[in-house]
Symmetry: C2
Subunit: 276 residues, 2 copies
Amino acid sequence: MNSFDASTQVERSTDDPGVSTGSFDGSWQVGNGINGGVVLSTTARGLAAALGDDRHPDPLAITGTYLSASTAGPLTVTAEVARRGGSISSGTATLAQPDAAGALQTRAIVQGVFGDLSQLPDDSEVRRDPPQMPAPEDCLPATMAPPHITESAKYLNNLDLRFDPATVQWALGQPARRGMIQAWVRFPDGREPDPFALLFLVDCLPPVLADFGRFGWSPTLQLSAYIRARPAPGALLVRHETEHVSGGQFEEDVRIWDSEGTLVAQGRQLARTPRA
Amino acid sequence: MNSFDASTQVERSTDDPGVSTGSFDGSWQVGNGINGGVVLSTTARGLAAALGDDRHPDPLAITGTYLSASTAGPLTVTAEVARRGGSISSGTATLAQPDAAGALQTRAIVQGVFGDLSQLPDDSEVRRDPPQMPAPEDCLPATMAPPHITESAKYLNNLDLRFDPATVQWALGQPARRGMIQAWVRFPDGREPDPFALLFLVDCLPPVLADFGRFGWSPTLQLSAYIRARPAPGALLVRHETEHVSGGQFEEDVRIWDSEGTLVAQGRQLARTPRA
């Protein structure tokens, strides 16, 4: 099984339809914990399982607030249905893990709206075109990143991630200071993107502060993902941007376009800057 | 009492510290319901009351998912504390109202992170400057808006709202089609802005689709607000933008700058386009 699916899959309890269990794989580690997008996607899968709604299989808007760093190992998602509607369903879910003493620690609280992307009208009245981007073969693979990046972000090894060279000058000690990083991303085993993968991919690049020469653990306070369309097969263009770093906090805005140039996801998070 | 404060204030139950009650004033009506920013701010006040945490008085990141349209009249906020930390506290809350038959209907579910904006470092390392904007006296007051706007958005009468003339050509039947509306906003009675008012003000302008000549009720699926700084006294510059309208949905991005040019809030919502 694909490593992302293995780490985000959950099994619904036969006793309680609101409860699902799973296990994080340590290969998704970044900084002190498991990648926040993996946490979001896993919790959303638990919420989808609780909704059990074939009419509304796709996450449309999912937000998570992070309470403590997730770790490799077992997890439980406890979900509550808020509303089953005609075109959308909504609910909340909590992801928890046992700590070293066996006490359950809440990692994230999530709220989400689910619908059916294939039922949305196939219009695109207004759109921002995908950015200019060199072809994947002219981009820099994450495996060439300096060790202080790949060691603190092991999950990068789970992806075929190729950076736009113009946006990774920070890796050479010459940050461009524009607040933007973009890359082509796909799973190396050919697993094609889908809406639950997009919930992770809105958090898949290094924190955009790297473009200002600042590295280290940037804990997310809250992360929202809007899934706008089902992605076509192939590599995705993922762009992280920030325009405001102040008070020890920054917003990270993410756009993802699929191989056909369709905007398929938007993400935004409020995070703390790394401690100096 | 200021009309916004009167409609968003809540009183904490003496029996259950997680429960607060209040009442929406009908003057905050827009389309089929009460303005979504007023709902967000009211629910956040109930969550803050449940946290009861003097160390973390300010909303930092608040997200609401909307389940049904709120109406004028009594409301109950039921909140649950998720975590009380050293620098932030978090929790969830639900706002409900009795329907005509007296059954409680959930209007919105909210999750929020609270902290102390005055304790954040006073740095601003990276910032986007406020946009160019004519002086308030050279802008167009909302009271000059055509009746089909002010009748479907009564709450505009509660604000001193002055549109940048270049962004309200839609009111003259000539939409600029740039996906942007901006205005100076303040409370007409001199009530100065604060973080809870900002939770409302990220939803205070007409839906940005008006700039494409599309009017009508645009129900919000999910709305997030990040409060970045305490606003200085005076009028706020509020800008709504969209760059992607597709599949019957659009995102609305909001930035708010205070009278000193500080970015004080960011908002984003996923909403549905009005039915044709």
